[in-house]
Subunit: 219 residues, 2 copies
């Protein structure tokens, strides 16, 4: 079997597991986000702020993808929500079967929101559907304003682009409007948010977006 | 053929092409660096500073790996050195055959230093030998101090760790000494440099390191 056939088979198997996950999440009434970014763009920090803001009103859970270490899951467990680290060994993305395995634990079967934080990587996670409602791509202002056009797949596919670390804007060259234009050129329907968990900028907009996606659901 | 066998075969083919490259580079007296980091850590910016400092004294060339766009090669060509963009389509790393193909162009056959800037990614490029003398991993101070332990493969294998954007240290939480300790725990012989192309900090140390690796060679 050729390399390309093996890759196609792997993706097909993933699609099938992802479809099953999507059906299960829908039945359970769970909103599922797949968060994708470079290493260090602030995925876990955004989740920490989100958990603190929403944990009284919603049942939350998180799956944390990483090559190594339990650090991210530890950070979220300390905030009182169920969080599980999925260590990929060397793989640069999560896949749907890894997510499905975690659903054997009741804590992850029917939360209101399940956050899936993918491995820090702007490339590989793009092709692997995890049964999520939508993908969120994060880009910090320190990473440079050329990134959407350099990584077009993820910026085309993510329903939401979250710019992070806006508190550092005064110290870096990052043309927000140019980045917004790039993102909208790739995906005209994308939501585009500018945030900083340090200053708090944009965090209410992010929470409002989640609330809209959840519909009227409140506990 | 199973997925794991295909992956093994791909890596074996890469090793073979990389060995050939290493032999050719050695015969040509070319020092070859393979630069690896997350997207936006400042690989191209460090190369720009390096080229400006060394272009009068050494013959330089650069290969720029990216998923999409010619931007990085354009930035280096503007500084007057031969630079070629290798677009990987969707692949998250360069491989040795892609590098070998570029050597058909005489400009890349025997420079004093060939800089290979890999695709922005801390995972995939680690496994693909490009025939380089050594790997350089870059980590910007905005990416967070947990990264060496989270991406141990690349920090173990890189002969040099370059911390970038040190001018932003006052505005972020980044414990330099903790990061240095992590890197040295993974690779006790690693060179560890703290740099900023904006303030100029550490750039002379980086240039001195390249000069040492080049031996006494001067034009």
């Amino acid at each position: 079997m050729k390399e390309i056939d093996v890759r196609r088979r792997v993706l097909e198997e993933n699609e099938s597991a992802a479809s099953e996950l999507r059906r299960r999440f829908k039945e359970a009434g769970t909103l599922v986000l797949n968060l994708i970014s470079s290493p260090g763009s602030g995925k876990t920090s955004l989740l920490e702020s989100t958990v603190v803001a929403l944990r009284e009103r919603f049942v939350l859970a998180a799956l944390e993808g990483d090559i190594a270490t339990e650090r991210d899951a530890d950070r979220l467990r300390q905030l009182g929500i169920p969080a599980r680290q999925i260590l990929t060994g060397g793989a640069c993305h999560l896949d749907a079967r890894q997510v499905r395995r975690e659903l054997e634990d009741a804590a992850f079967q029917a939360p209101d929101i399940l956050f899936i934080e993918n491995v820090g990587n702007l490339v590989c996670p793009t092709s692997y559907d995890l049964g999520e409602d939508f993908k969120v791509v994060l880009l910090s202002v320190t990473e440079g304003e050329d990134k959407p056009f350099k990584y077009p797949s993820i910026f085309s596919r993510a329903a939401v682009t979250v710019i992070t670390k806006s508190d550092l804007l005064p110290y870096v060259d990052f043309d927000l409007e140019a980045v917004r234009a790039q993102v909208l050129a790739l995906n005209s329907r994308a939501d585009f948010l500018v945030t900083s968990v340090k200053s708090g900028e944009g965090v209410p907009d992010w929470l409002a977006l989640l609330q809209r996606r959840l519909g009227g659901k409140r506990i």
